[in-house]
């Protein structure tokens, strides 16, 4: 990996980088800039993580800063809580989405609540990195989308990048946050590429702000993480049907950027929420409900949702039937009651 040994301060031209590289660079720079940052998880050391996001970091920063832990997710997050209580800023890796579940008691009952419990005396600046979502042909338990559990848990930030630049920026911002952040990495975008350099960053974006990735006037597609490329592609394809679709990338599910979303929907009058986790009780439910509450009289049609089915994540040979694709998004757009215009 070419960026592995580049010092954080060396000037570098923008050149193609993958999201995985940008994430690695963010960890690298955070470790270099702040001695209180520690990385821990299963296989994050010598191996560099199963997705190589921590590649070479143990070598550079030593095993006390980048630590292979025993195989126990509650233990990893629970010890991170203690480390944060002592003033450190732990960055924890959960190897896959479904393997974060053993840590949920620590997450809900402590990580999300310690600041509130102690009336601000004991914040826990922990970043919990979780590769999530499907589309990579993973066998059972390797493709879950678990964001709905996290976003319903007050006290947590829930952040997910969809671009290479955001992967860097949002991860830096998450690590710098004094609150715990569940940082969801869309694993099928790990190998997505963009021209990017850590030394010409567009600035570390603030947490909690959505961004309009494509302007449009007919309807708004609201999405995040792994579904952004699907929506952008759908927007392109939609031109042939005569639709000029706006695409909003949420970037942060908590806090939620009502302003950007509602601005867009009030302009377009129509909205489709797209994500790959199961629809029932998923993030899309919240998004649709709050748009309706806030923009009711601007809506020409109900806010529709395109989401994974309400089934356990299917095996690789069937996942394409489950995942929202361009056609399903455009079908939803078509159902936005255009005749009512």
């Amino acid at each position: 990996m070419s960026t592995a040994t580049a010092p954080a301060s060396a000037p570098a031209a923008r050149k193609p980088a993958t999201m995985a590289q940008a994430l690695r660079q963010a960890l690298h720079d955070a470790l270099a800039d702040d001695a209180s940052v520690h990385v821990l998880g299963e296989d994050v050391g010598t191996l560099g993580g199963v997705f190589r996001i921590t590649d070479g970091l143990t070598k550079e920063f030593g095993p006390d800063r980048v630590t292979d832990t025993p195989l126990a997710e509650a233990g990893i997050l629970g010890t991170a809580v203690g480390m944060a209580m002592y003033g450190l800023r732990p960055v924890v890796e959960m190897q896959f989405d479904a393997f974060a579940y053993p840590a949920i008691e620590q997450l809900i009952s402590h990580v999300a609540r310690m600041r509130n419990r102690t009336r601000g005396a004991m914040p826990l600046p922990i970043t919990i990195r979780i590769p999530y979502g499907g589309g990579i042909g993973g066998v059972e338990h390797h493709s879950d989308s678990s964001e709905a559990y996290y976003l319903h848990t007050p006290g947590l930030h829930v952040v997910t990048p969809a671009t290479v630049a955001d992967a860097y920026g949002l991860l830096r911002a998450s690590i710098a946050s004094d609150d715990p952040v569940v940082f969801l990495e869309p694993k099928r975008l790990y190998w997505s590429k963009a021209d990017w350099s850590a030394d010409a960053p567009q600035g570390v974006p603030p947490l909690g702000r959505a961004v309009v990735r494509r302007a449009g006037r007919s309807a708004t597609l609201i999405t995040y993480g792994p579904s952004l490329p699907v929506c952008l592609e759908a927007a392109e394809a939609g031109r042939q049907e005569g639709w000029d679709l706006e695409v909003v990338d949420l970037r942060s599910l908590v806090p939620f950027d009502d302003e950007t979303v509602c601005d867009s929907v009030r302009r377009t009058g129509r909205a489709v929420v797209v994500h790959e986790s199961s629809g029932f009780g998923g993030a899309g439910a919240e998004i649709a409900a709050r748009i309706t509450e806030r923009c009711f009289h601007h809506l020409a049609a109900p806010v529709l949702r395109v989401a994974g089915f309400d089934i356990p994540y299917p095996p690789p040979m069937l996942e394409r039937y489950h995942l929202p694709g361009v056609d399903r998004v455009l079908d939803a757009v078509a159902r936005l009651q255009w005749e009512a215009n």
Partner: protein, 396 residues
């Protein structure tokens, strides 16, 4: 530290189970038939095994080696602790406390845990350990904040190095390990002492915490207060182990077994473990055998699951009586001192009654203040809604 030879675990008594299959491997003879290459005896398990019966000091000659000032200090704290428990339980009856899990009968563990620590150390209490928190110096009224229904933690954990009283069982143990690990990485001579109940040892978090501690060689000491019950569930339904201290060897740390009602013994065992941790010796698991004299909490009816005979047996092994006898038999305390101790306890109780009598004033708007470092837009909206409701209520 008087005896260096580890006890033979076989000395613990005759085997209670049926004879079991062979374990000694037949002598290797064939060519090239060596043990698997990866395997080597890594550490000797024998020194990790606990003593054959609970370690005691009181009533033994070794008690004479204990500093009388420490004995008196322990005694005073035990008496104050007992009084505190009684007063707090009374306050539940008056509706001044939502609930109180009394540690009556377990005061020796509570007090010894607090006194064995130095200021730079950290205490990680479980929900029953208010006494330990108070004995460590947290304000006795603030320590009851959670239990009176006021905000969840009434003290700043950093002020006295006392983590919040922890309700989800065993979840505090990995916190203690992480903190100890962080301290060690920082080069500080801080030790963390984490308390857990016999029931809590069944939770996965217990296991994961002990394993991390041993692998990381973290300066942490785990104290199990084995009080015989997890609410109604007796120890024999909780574990089939020879003792809870025997779990230590499975993590590669020493296990110690101590009479949990013998305050100087608990203090000594903990002090040794803490010193060991402080000087780079790694973690220790201590099991203190004790008993919960009161019900689980004021809301519990202990007669549903245990009989008075057992309680009476334990009353005859009362931690305060045991220590008082030592002090009296050896003339280490006189009536005036005993009276002073009783008065100190009464003063504590009086203060509790008085200060707990006033209703705390909570501002509902603070519900939104510490969820995040900065209020989110959503919380600002919700706060505005509540503000409007409160204003409307006032207007009525």
């Amino acid at each position: 530290m008087a005896h260096l030879s580890p006890p033979s675990p076989a000395a613990a008594g005759p085997a209670k189970r049926s004879a079991r299959p062979a374990k000694t491997p037949p002598e290797a003879t064939g060519p090239g038939h060596t043990p698997p290459p990866g395997w080597h005896p890594r550490i000797d398990p024998a020194p990790l095994l606990p003593e054959p019966e609970p370690y005691r000091l009181l009533g033994t000659p070794a008690a004479r080696d204990v500093d009388p000032a420490l004995l008196r200090r322990l005694y005073e704290e035990l008496v104050r602790g007992r009084r505190y428990n009684r007063q707090a339980t009374a306050l539940t009856q008056q509706g001044r406390l939502a609930v109180y899990p009394s540690s009556t009968g377990q005061e020796a563990c509570q007090v010894a845990a607090a006194l064995a620590l130095r200021p730079q150390d950290w205490l990680f209490p479980s929900y029953r350990d208010t006494l330990a928190v108070v004995a460590r110096g947290v304000d006795p009224v603030q320590a009851l904040t959670l239990l009176r229904g006021d905000w969840h933690t009434g003290y700043d954990p950093r002020a006295r190095h006392v983590a919040p009283l922890c309700t989800p069982l065993a979840t505090q143990l990995p916190h203690a390990v992480g903190l100890a690990h962080a301290a060690r990485l920082a080069g500080d001579d801080t030790v963390a002492l984490a308390l857990v109940g016999d029931g809590g040892t069944s939770e996965g978090d217990f296991h994961e915490a002990l394993n991390f501690a041993a692998v990381w060689h973290a300066p942490v000491v785990f104290l199990i207060q084995n009080n015989g019950f997890a609410i109604s569930v007796p120890l024999e339904k909780q574990t089939a182990a020879p003792s809870l201290a025997h779990k230590a060897v499975g993590y590669g740390m020493p296990g110690r077994l101590v009479d949990g009602n013998d305050a100087p013994a608990v203090h000594q065992v903990l002090s040794e473990a803490i010193e060991r941790a402080r000087t780079g010796g790694g973690p220790t698991l201590v099991e203190a055998v004790t008993y919960r004299i009161d019900a689980h909490t004021n809301a519990d009816d202990a007669t549903r699951y245990r009989d008075a005979v057992q309680v009476d047996q334990w009353r005859a092994h009362d931690p305060i009586d045991l220590l008082e006898r030592e002090l009296r038999d050896r003339d280490l305390i006189d009536d005036a001192e005993l009276k002073a101790v009783a008065e100190s306890a009464e003063a504590l109780a009086a203060r509790l009654r008085e200060e707990m009598n006033a209703d705390p004033v909570l501002d509902p708007m603070e519900l939104f203040d510490h969820v995040y470092a900065e209020q989110t837009a959503q919380l600002r909206e919700q706060a505005a809604q509540l503000r409007a409701e409160l204003d409307a209520e006032e207007d009525r």
